[in-house]
Structure formats: C-alpha cells, structure tokens
C-alpha cells in the first residue's frame, strides 16, 4: 500500500502533463487571437466600421429658378417620407398596426405597398407614405424605440410657385424610372441611380446639368437594427472616411417675366392654346404659356396614379406645349411672308392693285376669298389689312412655291428655332423638291395658291411666327429665341450669361417691303377696316395679323360663317401674330387658340393683354405717349372714314 504522500507523488508526472495541456490550450487561443487581431485585424476592423457606418446620400439642393425681374419661380421645400426597412422589423404585426394608426393608412394598403416591394432586398427601405405631415413626423420620431424598422426620410421637394402657370416652360423633375435608367446613363454618361431626380421636361430638363448640383454623402453610425445613433462614440470611427458635402445646383435666371406669364395664363382662361412673347431686339422669350396645363410640383412629390391618368387621358393633352411642341397651319398670318416674297421678287410693287372679286379661278377650281362680294381694288396694305385671299393668291401665282419658301425659310419658318427647350417641332414649308421626295408627285399650281395663304402643307409653331414677325418689326434680324438669361452659382456669382444670338439678317432688295407690310399690319388693328380693329388696345400701338387654321378641309368661306355652330372638334384654330409698338417695336407675340374659330375673336385679345402688361411694366413712358398717339390715329381714321363715305368705290384694276 502507498502512503497518501506517495500517492500524490506518483501522480506528479500527470500533473506536469496537465500543466503542459493548459499551456498548449491557451497558446492555441492566443495564436488564434493573433491571427484575428493582427493578421486579419485590418480587414475585420473595416468590417466593424462597415457594420455600423451607413453611407447616406445627402441630396444636393437643386438650383432655384428666377424670372427676369428676380422673382422666385421655382423653390425647394423640405419633405418627409415614412419609410420601413423590412430587415429590422421585429414584431411585424404590431409595428404595422401602430404605423397604420399614426399615418391614418389602411393596414391593407400598407400590406399592399410591402407586397409590391417584396421582391427587393430586405435591407432596402420601402416608402410607406410620401409627404407625411409634421404631426405624423413627430409621432414617428417620438415613438422611434417602439417602431423598429420605421424611420423618416427627409429631403427637398420642388415647389413651383405659380403652379400651372408656365408649367410647360419650367418643366418638372421626377424620379428616374427603371426604364429610363439605362438610357439616361448612356446619354449623359453619368452614374445615375434609381430614385435620383432629374429634370424631365422644360427648363428643368434642358438645364438639368446646371440645376442638378452634385449629391454628397455622409456616414452615419447605425446600430444592428439600422437605427441611427444619436451619440457617436468618441473613438476614431470616422478617421479616414470622408463625408462629401453636396454641391448645390446653380440658380437660373430666365428671360421670362412673371407678371406677363400670369397675364398670359389668365388671358387663356377657358381656352386651349398657347401664347409666346419675344423681345424684338434680342429673341428673349418674355412670356410663354400653354393651356391646359398641369401642376409640376405633383411630379416631384411622387405623382399619384390618379393625377397621372387625368393628364394622360385628357383629350386636350395638358402635357403638350402649344408653343413649341405643336405646329398648325399659320393661315392668314402667313400672308405677311407671301407679301414680302412677292414684293421682293417683283411680282408686285407698291403700285400694284389687284381686283378681288370674291374668288380666284384656276382651271376648274375656284378659290374663294373669305369675303364673298370681294375686296375690289386691293393694294398690299389693304390686302394685309383686310386679309384678302385673292390678292396673295394672285401674287403667288406670279411666282412659284419655291420663291415663297425661300422667304419663309429666311424668316425662320419650316425649321426649329433652336430654342434651348426640349422636343421642339420644326413646322413645314413645302417646296417642289419636298413634295417630290415626300409624295413622289409634281407640285400643283393650285397648291401654291393654298400655301400662299398659310393653308395646305404649311405648318408653323407660334414660336416661329413670333420670330418671323419680330424680324419684320426689327428690319429683318432673325434672333434665336432663348429663355435663360444667366446662371449663378449658389454664392450668387455669375457663372454664365446667355447673349442674344443673331442667326441672320435678311437684306431686303426693296427698302419699302417691310415698311409696307408693317403698315398693313398696323392697319389690321388701327384701321376700322382692319380684321382685328376691335382688338386694338390703348397704349400699345400694336401691329399684327389674324389667322384661322382649318382643322378639317373645307373651303374657307363656307365654313367660316358657321364656325361657332360646328362641333368643337371641327372648329378652326384662331391665330394672331403681331408686334408692338408699331413705330418702335419692342415685343413680338404669337397666339394660337385651338378651335377658337377666329384669330380676331379668340387669339388677338390674348396678345393684347400680354402686350399691355409688357408695355405698362417695361415701357411705361412709351405707353403714355402711345395713349396720346392713339388719339391722333383715331382722329385720322375718323377723318378718312368721313372722306371715304361719299366717294364711290374705286373701279378695280389689276
């Protein structure tokens, strides 16, 4: 038998072995720790940072848009969305029920939103409700702890101060859709992301690269449930990680006048149409309004499907800009061009008098003048004043279509003006070549007659007509219309100024051409026989031309009388193009009123209102002078009228 002490002794070897085992075991642990902390330390440290750092986009404030007189047109305001990150939901039922209470949303509609987004990754936040109120915001923030997975997304919404006024010009921004994404990336070579906002229409689209700015990002510390930590640990978590401040978008100053926009918008009340006003000596667009319109703010707030449907299904196409995205037969407003062509060509001169017997026969076809009994002996001035079809048809017959087209094109028609706005249409000025290419047919002389009075193939937009009439007013200078005056950075420093762009100067062979055309246009409004005499406004001394654009082909005189009785869809478009003041032209304007029946009745009043607004605001002295001149002119035509009455009608000679 062993003694107790001996028993202990014989086990001493094993005790030593156990101490080796202990040493080896902890050696292993320390080796593992060395591996993790030193060998893989840097990597795992980065993991721990990525764990708790979330890179959040800091939206760049989009540039503001001002009018020419420094009035704010487009602003940014903060907006809040309630969002939910499925990954961090703990008790889904409870959270959703609470949320439904706070946001006063049906549970079913929340479930619907979640279901719609159920195919995306769980860590991606889903917007439950856009544009929540401050009350809802406060509730979500204060109940943060009981609403795991729910948070509030803040960003800046685009606010259009005058809502529908000038919406087509200003445009809108909206989120890049799944379909657009690849196309836009290709187009701009920029790394757009889904949900980025981009200008999709008007100025917002055209100047997107100035307005957009550059989004920044910041790193925020979040816990395992994705909740943003309020107190950031004091260690060097953010060392070596740079936040990037967003670069504000640039502010833009337009050539547009806000008061004229509003006047134009109001003048178009109840109408379908557009009005544009240009500065005669620069091509600056002073006003540009189209109706029906839409509220662009709706797009940046996340368009509701109902609103979108109401826009798309509206037969009057509220999304289409009547000034640059639509073209019409210019009708009689084109006669000024035909007149210029004939005069310059030598087909007529100032002594030419054409006898209008109410119609013009070519072969078997009779072309009616709008006045059945005819205008009698007609000069260029009278022909313009009274819009005599026969005069211009006879003048055109002495030339050919190519000659008219040459002048029309010189005045900027039949081609895009190149205004820096998207989706401008080109209009059409037909030529013999064009017809051959287009239809494989020879040009018919009768077509020349139709085209000479702005019907048939001729198509123009109001912006082209205004540009052409501005050239008539300024002596033949064609300016490219433009809407952006200056671009400023967010500090107010001028970055870029847009200057008038003189595209061409039409040299007139005959110095009297424009003078007589202008005289004719003046008399349209300031002579009792003028077609728009009733629309002469006080103090504006406007010269202009009315026109009707046939919607359905029918001889003009037959349908003219009955226009108001026709179905709306078949009524003529009413046009008016003009400039003012006659003796010192400052502003040119063009108006289209769809199915407005007549230029003088529907379109001219709109022009009058816009021009009056301009004169009062920008040329107040001239306006007062004009009021005086109006009296002289009135005396003058009263005298002429009296003198003319006893006289017999002059016999018509050609």
């Amino acid at each position: 038998m062993f003694g107790e002490e001996e028993l202990v002794k014989i086990h001493k070897d094993r005790a030593t072995l156990i101490s080796y085992i202990i040493t080896a075991a902890f050696g292993l642990v320390l080796a593992r720790l060395w591996y993790l902390q030193v060998y893989k330390g840097e990597t795992l440290h980065n993991y721990s940072i990525q764990n708790r750092l979330r890179k959040e986009v800091v939206w760049a404030p989009r540039g503001l848009i001002y009018s020419r007189d420094d009035q704010l047109l487009v602003d940014n305001i903060p907006r809040f969305d309630a969002i939910l990150t499925p990954q961090f939901l703990i008790d889904k039922e409870e959270t959703l029920n609470k949320l439904s209470g706070i946001l006063s949303l049906e549970r079913a509609s929340i479930d619907g939103v979640l279901k719609k987004n159920s195919n995306q990754a769980k860590y991606r936040p889903i917007i439950i409700k856009k544009n929540i109120s401050f009350g809802e915001l406060a509730q979500i923030e204060s109940q943060n702890a009981e609403l795991p997975g729910v948070s509030v997304d803040t960003f800046i919404s685009r606010e259009y101060r005058d809502k529908e006024v000038g919406a087509h010009l200003l445009g809108y921004i909206s989120e890049i859709s799944q379909i657009q994404l690849p196309k836009l990336r290709e187009r701009d070579r920029l790394d757009y992301r889904l949900g980025d906002f981009i200008g999709q229409f008007g100025i917002e689209e055209q100047l997107d690269r100035y307005l957009r700015g550059e989004n920044g990002h910041e790193f925020v510390e979040v816990d395992a449930r994705g909740r943003r930590k309020r107190y950031i640990n004091t260690d060097n978590l953010f060392k070596g990680i740079e936040d990037e401040k967003p670069l504000s978008g640039m502010n833009v100053k337009l050539t547009i006048d806000r008061d004229m926009q509003i006047a134009a918008y109001e003048a178009l009340e109840g109408r379908v149409g557009g009005v544009i006003a240009l500065d005669v000596e620069s091509g600056q667009v002073l006003a540009m309004v189209s109706r029906p319109s839409f509220d662009p703010s709706q797009f940046s707030r996340g368009l509701s499907p109902d609103y979108w449907r109401s826009l798309v299904n509206n037969k009057e196409h509220p999304l289409r800009d009547r000034n640059i995205q639509e073209h019409f037969s210019p009708g009689s407003t084109f006669k000024a061009i035909t007149g210029i062509a004939a005069f310059e060509n030598g087909a007529i001169d100032e002594r030419t008098e054409v006898n209008c017997g109410g119609s013009f026969r070519l072969g078997s076809r009779v072309y009616h003048c709008w006045k059945k009994e005819g205008h009698g002996a007609t000069s260029l001035v009278k022909a313009i004043r009274e819009s005599c079809n026969v005069y211009f048809q006879k003048a055109a017959f002495r030339m050919d279509i190519d000659e008219i087209a040459k002048y029309a094109k010189a005045f900027g028609m039949g081609a895009r003006t190149g205004i820096s706005l998207p989706r401008e249409v080109s209009g059409l000025i037909p030529t013999k070549d064009w017809k051959r290419k287009r239809f494989g047919q020879e040009w018919q002389p009768g077509e020349t007659l139709s085209c000479s009075i702005g019907q048939s193939y001729v198509l123009s937009s109001t912006i082209q007509l205004a540009t052409a009439y501005a050239a008539i007013a300024n002596g033949g200078k064609i300016f490219r219309p433009y809407v952006v005056k200056d671009v400023y950075d967010d500090q107010g420093e001028l970055v870029k100024t847009f200057h008038p762009e003189l595209l061409s100067k039409i040299e007139m062979k005959n110095p009297k051409t424009l003078q007589l055309v202008r005289e004719g246009l003046f008399q349209v409004m300031n002579n009792p026989k003028g077609t728009a005499f009733a629309r002469r406004g006080p103090g504006i001394m406007m010269a202009g031309k009315t026109g009707t654009s046939q919607v359905k082909t029918a001889s003009a005189d037959k349908v003219y009388q009955k226009c108001d009785l026709m179905d709306y869809e078949s009524r003529h478009h009413g046009l008016f193009v003009g400039f003012a003041p006659y003796d010192n032209p400052k502003i040119a304007t063009a108006v289209i009123i769809e199915h407005g029946c007549s230029g003088s009745g529907a379109a001219a009043p709109v022009a009058e209102k816009v021009v009056t607004q301009y004169m009062k605001k920008y040329q107040p002295e001239m306006y007062l002078e004009n009021l005086e001149k109006d009296k002289l002119i009135k005396d003058n035509w009263v005298k002429t009228l009296k003198a003319e009455v006893p006289k017999a009608k002059p016999t018509a000679t050609e």
Binding site: M1, F2, E4, E5, L7, V8, K9, I10, H11, K12, R14, A15, L17, I18, S19, I22, T23, A25, F26, L28, V29, L30, R32, L33, W34, L36, Q37, V38, K40, G41, E42, T43, L44, H45, Y47, S48, I49, N51, R52, A145, E221, V222, D223, A224, R225, K229, N233, T234, D235, L237
Partner: protein, 370 residues
Amino acid sequence: MNQTILQFLKRYDFSFLGSMSAIFLVGVLNLYSATHSQQHEGLDSLYKSQMIWFGISLSVAVAISFLNPKTIERFSYVAYIGTLFLIFLVLLMGKVGMGAQRWLVIGPLRMQPSEFMKMGLVLALARYFTKVYPERELGFKELIFPGIITMVPAVMVIVQPDLGTGMLLLFIFAMMIFYKRLKWKTIMTLGIISLVSGVLMYNFGLKEYQRKRIHTFIDPYEDAKGSGYNAIQSEIAIGSGRLFGKGFKNSSQASLNYLPENHTDFVFAIFNEEHGFFGSVFLVILYIVFFMRMVWLASSVQRFYDSVLVVGIMSIFFWHTFINMSMVSGLLPIVGIPLPLMSYGGSSMLTFGVGVGIATSISNTRNFFN
C-alpha cells in the same frame, strides 16, 4: 493575540482569492463596458447584480476556506446526490429559457443546477478515486463506476437540452481520469471510441439547432445573417480590436448591439475589441496563473483526495475558460459556455467561489498543519 493573527495571515493562502478578485475586477469592468449603452434593454445595471453575486461568492469562498478538507470529503457523495436531485427537479419543473430547460426558481432565486452539478461530480469522483485502488493505473474495468457517476448527470443535462454543460461534465471526467493515471493504451482506445460515437451522435443524437451550430462553425459565412451571425460578429469584434483595442467603453459591436449575448457568452469578444491583443494576453495570463497555482497545489498536498479534488476543480474552470475563449474566437463551435468571472451569471460565480474556497482550504491545511 496579534501574533496569532499575523501568523494566521502569513499562513493563509490568499493566492486563489486574489486571483479570483483580480479576474473579477477585469470582468466587472468589462461587463459594465459591454452593457452601459443598453439602457433600453435594461442591461445597463447588470454589473451591479454581478458585484452582489461576487460579494456572496467571495463570502462563500472565505467561509469554505475555514472548513477542514476532511469534512468536505465526508460530504462528497451527499453533495453529488443533492445536485443530481436539483437536476432532476429541473427536468420536472424547470423554467424554460432560450428553448432549453435550465433554470430552477426558488422564491426570488433563479438557479442553474447544472452549474453546481459540476462541483458535485468533481467531489464524488475525487472521493471514489481515493477510496478504490488509489494506486492503480486506470483501465476500462476501473472506469465503469466513475463512468456511471458521470454519465447519469451528463445525460440528464444533455436532455434539458444543454449539450455544452453535458459535454463539459465529460471533459471534467476526462481530465480527472487522466490525472488518475489512465493507461495510455486506454486513452488511445477511448479516443477512437469517442471519435466514432461523435460521428454517430452527430447523425442521430443532435437536435437540428445543435447540428446547425456545427455547420455554422465550419463555415459561418454560409448563413451570415442567420445562424452564422454570432460567430461572424464575434470574430469581427475580436479582430477589430487589433493590437491595442478600441479602448474602454468603445466597443461598437456591443454598444450598437451587433453582437448579441454580449454580457454572457461573448464578453471575451467585447474585451478583445476594447483592449486588443495585449489586453487579452494580460487576461489569459491571469487565468493561467490561477490554473497553474491549482496544478502546483495538486502536487503539493499530503492527502490524495485533496490532490484529485484540486485537479477536478481546476478542470471545471479550465474547460470553461478554454471552451469559451475558443468558441468566441472561432476555434470551436458556439456552445453556451460562460467565461468564469467574466460572463454575467450568479450560479457560475457561486460555483467558482465554492471551488476557490475549497482550494484555499486545502492549501491552508498544508500550511497550518505542517
């Protein structure tokens, strides 16, 4: 009188109590750091109850240190049967926590009897090995009875189910028979048997979640957001501490709740994150000093029972420490084994106090009666 007190203090072995206190101090600071930011989960005051438990455990340790080891020896089987009874009670009426039946609630006290079972087993085995052929090397025949003593509570714990603690009982048994001179031949055979039975157990004996833990251990990234999550986050916590750590109270993994259970099983990961490799070396050395002192004591006593008992006690804490550190750092699959004195938990602390008390008592006997 003063002389006597001085004599007493000179001969009293403070090393175990000292080690315990040192590790506890590190532990409680770490616990505070890991939980201080978790107010909303109500965990931020855990360190206070941990301190109370330490006070109790230290008192128990001091009290036991004045017992004569012979008295302890006498009560060995009683302790074993008593703790076994508690385990039995748990199976009958225990409180379910985390999908397993582990807790016994008596009045305000929540106990984890499987913690005490370890001590009961060690006492019973020490008693048995010193009474029956203490001088013999162990072979299979000699393992039958101690094997039964071990397997009964082990099986009962495993069916709770608490595989970790059940395995731990087997590991404790293994280290004690190794000390009790298990034949090398038998060791080899047993090794082969346990390997085979391990494979069989994996295929037929494990619950789905336990099997998942093993899968997760082999490749935690296979299911990084699910069952591999803890393992990955734990490694991230450790690794991100690098050499010097992020500093006290700076664990982001804990304060941002990336690492769950950071006050219990994963305290060591948080410690590593905050104090880095050098901090861990310091902590590991504290543990090694404690264990080595125990091993030294086992060879320095006069009574064989004391020697076996000290090895048994040491093995309880050694396995806890080693398994916890290994699982947290990805060397072993994650099983719910706490780190002694560092993890939050009263039962575990109390067991430690009992162990330290017994060790001190044995050490003191050596000094006082020589």
